[in-house]
């Protein structure tokens, strides 16, 4: 028979004012299995805790129930006290006599009776409690950062500066992401590359950062603290250990007309190329799709040019494995092309651009060296129209959400244009101006007031070309719907910020969730913005939703701190409230029938398949096993299992039934 100790707290008068605590202690003391029951003024005080410790020893208690406040308040306190007295802490439970009883009921017979019931429930539960050990998992103190935009750069540097190793994987030949493509940045108009390049270099030189460019994640296995990442190093065709980055090969490559990704299609590049002059690493790769040699088997001019013999024709993709303890996802976003909107030109008019293309035009390192010129004929546009929300906030053809950054960059574009073309006229068609941020509204007002950008509230219905002009048919809704027609020289669409292509597949590889637009989903929209619901995988930057640089950097540092916190211990200690699949002696092994309903139910992919093999190594059965590193203890699997083979420690079926039955069985 159990020997349970029960301790009823007065909480000063908080409980005893409405509950007859002496009667509770008295009646519970008479229950089967209760070896000791007392009441006391402040159980959580030192003397209160001492009562418990002494009773554990004196009566050899095998269970403790404290009838006091909410377990959310003092459960750790009393469990610690029990542990100090040598009792497994998970044999201690609390009955909530304060928040759930004395504070919500008047002083009465019923209130005391309810209090007795609440304590009884816990006594019955504790009888079924089993000693549990907290779970310890080792932590590999090395982080994997996927994506080398400003988010990935910031997160890598922050983690590396805490002294931990970082592996940074970037898909493109250089890190930098979208920020490296920007001209000047709102709200301060500082040059994007001037502030970014030093950080890119720092990444390359940091002793704690291992950089893999032109690489992608192949697969990820394992769980928090213990991931195994397979990384595909795409063949660069250039040996980076010998290449000096002199660029001679690039000068000589005869394939020169490939649209440059970095210049958003406005400039060209060669087949062997460095995406932009400040690239990190500043060494070329060969684009095999466009290279003459890979296409037709002849050329090799680059090889002849290279003084150090760095070209490697037969290099193949390589797959390496890295063990890491945490992952930061920082794969950023993408912008929709102009062909998104048929009425704005089907991508057929050369002078209808995306915002990103305009950034390249305005950038000193861009195809026009910072002069705003029309792609069609190189003329300087005298009239320019910006169309906000081009694709965003359009459930019919685009995406329903607001892309958040485009109001700001449109204001910036109009401003940059006015600064560069003094006699130019710029018009912005907008629906709302969303400029929430430090100095953002002021920035937009400056565009309107000081730089005389013409803001017209209304959407544009159509853009078409006539006599070398782009006719923009819009409306001024503030004038009761007056139609506005502008003959523009250039039209810039603030196209939607969308999830990066491939983000869905990447999310599936990592077992993180994504939203309907394929942006990665945070664990909680307010309180866990950098966590995913897979423990150990964190988010940074625009891969979670469109966002600007300040927010991206803040989020990246947040993710880095989460990683550092995780790495601050050698082992992870977790509450043992996790699921377990029962194990029986052979030949039964388990009541689990291997239906894996639990697997479909589990939101954390914590269910694994365990093969039970005979002595000869033949497969007897496959049953479920819970990966305790991944299990969060939600218990969903328990409700799904029809054979009742999986149960959740601390809330087992047995325990819960005992609670319920104690209430009803009289």
């Amino acid at each position: 028979m159990s020997k349970i100790g029960v301790f009823i707290c007065h909480c000063g008068e908080n409980i005893s004012a409405t509950v007859d605590v002496e009667r509770v202690a008295r009646e519970i003391g008479g229950m089967e299995g209760v070896a000791h029951a007392i009441d006391y003024k402040y159980m959580c005080s030192d003397p209160g805790q001492t009562f418990i410790k002494e009773a554990v020893k004196k009566y050899g208690l095998d269970g403790v129930v404290v009838g006091a406040c909410s377990p959310r308040m003092h459960e750790p306190t009393f469990r610690r006290a029990c542990a100090e007295a040598g009792l497994n802490p998970y044999l201690c439970e609390m009955a909530n006599l304060r928040e759930h009883c004395s504070w919500v009921h008047e002083k009465s017979e019923e209130t005391t009776e309810k209090a007795i019931d609440l304590v009884k429930m816990m006594v019955e539960k504790v009888k079924k409690n089993k000693p549990l050990d907290s779970i310890k998992v080792p932590v590999t103190k090395r982080a994997l950062v996927i994506g080398g935009g400003i988010a990935g750069i910031q997160a890598s540097l922050d983690i590396a500066n805490t002294g931990h190793k970082v592996i940074l994987v970037e898909r493109d030949p250089s890190i930098g992401g979208h920020m490296s493509q920007l001209s000047e940045t709102f709200p301060t108009l500082d040059c994007s590359q001037c502030i970014l390049t030093p950080r890119m270099v720092e990444v390359a030189q940091h002793p704690n950062i291992k950089l893999y460019t032109y690489a992608e994640l192949e697969s990820l296995e394992g769980f928090i603290g213990n991931f195994k990442a397979k990384i595909r190093l795409k063949a660069k065709s250039v040996n980076y250990s010998t290449c000096t980055g002199c660029g001679a090969c690039i000068q000589k490559c005869p394939v020169k007309k490939i649209p440059s990704e970095f210049n958003a299609g406005l400039g060209t590049r060669t087949a062997i190329y460095v995406p932009f002059p400040q690239a990190v690493p500043n060494k070329p790769v060969i684009d095999r799709v466009n290279c003459n040699y890979y296409k037709r088997g002849a050329c090799k001019i680059c090889e002849k040019t290279c003084q150090v013999g760095s070209i490697e024709w037969d290099k193949e993709d390589e797959i390496i494995t890295e063990e890491v303890g945490a992952v930061v996802l920082a794969t950023g976003f993408d912008v929709k092309g102009t062909d998104f909107f048929p009425e704005y030109g089907y991508g057929q008019y050369k002078d209808v651009l995306t915002g990103l293309q305009f950034e390249r035009l305005a950038s000193a390192s861009g195809p026009t060296f910072g002069e705003i010129r029309r792609p069609s004929d190189g003329a300087i546009p005298k009239k320019i129209v910006f169309i906000a929300c081009a694709g965003s906030r359009d459930p019919a053809k685009g995406i329903p959400y607001c892309s958040k950054i485009c109001c700001m960059y449109t204001a910036k574009h109009a401003m940059l244009y006015q600064h560069k073309v003094h006699d130019g006229e710029s018009t912005v068609f907008y629906m709302d101006i969303r400029a929430g941020g430090k100095n953002y509204e002021e920035f937009v007002r400056r565009a309107i007031e000081e730089d005389t950008v013409n803001y017209v509230r209304g959407r544009v219905a159509r853009v078409y070309e006539k006599n070398g002009k782009l006719i923009v048919k819009g409306v001024d809704t503030l004038l009761g719907g007056e139609q506005v027609e502008i003959e523009a020289d250039m039209v810039v669409l603030a196209t939607a910020g969308v999830a990066n292509c491939g983000s869905e597949q990447l999310a599936q590889k990592l077992h993180v969730s994504y939203d309907p637009y394929h942006f990665f989903a945070e664990a909680h929209p307010k309180l866990k913005p950098v966590e995913t619901n897979t423990a150990g995988i964190f988010l940074a930057g625009a891969c979670q939703a469109p966002k600007d640089i300040p927010e991206t950097v803040g989020m990246a540092s947040g993710a880095a701190v989460k990683v550092a916190a995780l790495f601050s211990n050698d082992e992870l200690v977790r509450e043992p409230v996790v699921a377990v699949v029962n194990r029986l002696a052979p030949p039964l092994y388990s009541t689990c029938v291997g239906c894996f309903m639990c697997e479909t139910a589990c939101p954390y992919n914590a269910i694994e398949h365990e093969e039970i093999k005979g002595r000869d190594g033949s497969l007897i059965r496959t049953i479920a096993r819970v990966n305790q590193g991944l299990c969060q203890g939600c218990g969903t699997c328990v409700a799904f299992c029809r054979s009742k083979s999986i149960d959740i420690q601390g809330y087992t079926n047995e325990q819960v039934y005992a609670e319920v039955m104690s209430l009803l069985n009289d």
Partner: protein, 168 residues
């Protein structure tokens, strides 16, 4: 109604500038849900001038079916007898057209034009082109009639002539 007043419909509507209220404005009036604004809508020429060309619907980010609403509003305006003067020739034309279909099963253009002229007392209109139409073989002097004209009578009787049927 989901309209968020972006104005794209108005920006592309070919007749917006001829309307008392351009389409987006009309949507706003309806959105208020007040009787007063509904009256404004019904008494406007907008609902009659709308050509059902569907430019607006094709471009509306919220896929608001303005042409369909126009259909409804026109029926409502007839029912409440709140007709903008611009509606007169338009309704007259439609009625004359349907008369022809009702009687012959097809469109009898001379009949249509004559009947329209009686309805609008606009005898001079189109005098200029009718003779050349005739000369170019584009006008039949006698109506073409379908055989089963009773089916036409029945269809008209059960739909437009049946007081209970209204546009939805």
């Amino acid at each position: 109604m989901r309209c968020y007043q972006c104005g794209k419909c108005t920006a592309g509507c070919v007749l917006a500038s001829d309307m008392n209220y351009p389409p987006s404005y009309l949507m706003r009036l309806l959105q208020t849900g007040t009787r007063q604004n509904m009256d404004k809508v019904l008494a406007s020429n907008s609902i009659w001038l709308c050509l059902n060309c569907e430019n607006c619907l094709g471009r509306c980010p919220m896929e608001i079916d303005i042409p369909k609403m126009m259909d409804y509003l026109r029926t409502q305006a007839i029912k409440e007898n709140k007709l903008h003067p611009d509606s007169k020739p338009i309704i007259a034309f439609h009625r004359s057209f349907l008369d022809s279909v009702r009687n012959t099963g097809r469109l009898y253009e001379i009949g249509l034009v004559l009947s329209y002229k009686f309805r609008t007392f606009n005898f001079l209109q189109d005098l200029a082109i009718a003779p050349s139409m005739y000369l170019k073989g584009k006008l039949h002097l006698l109506p073409e009639k379908i055989k089963d004209r009773r089916s036409m009578k029945r269809i008209f009787a059960q739909t437009i002539e049946n007081a209970k049927t209204v546009n939805k």
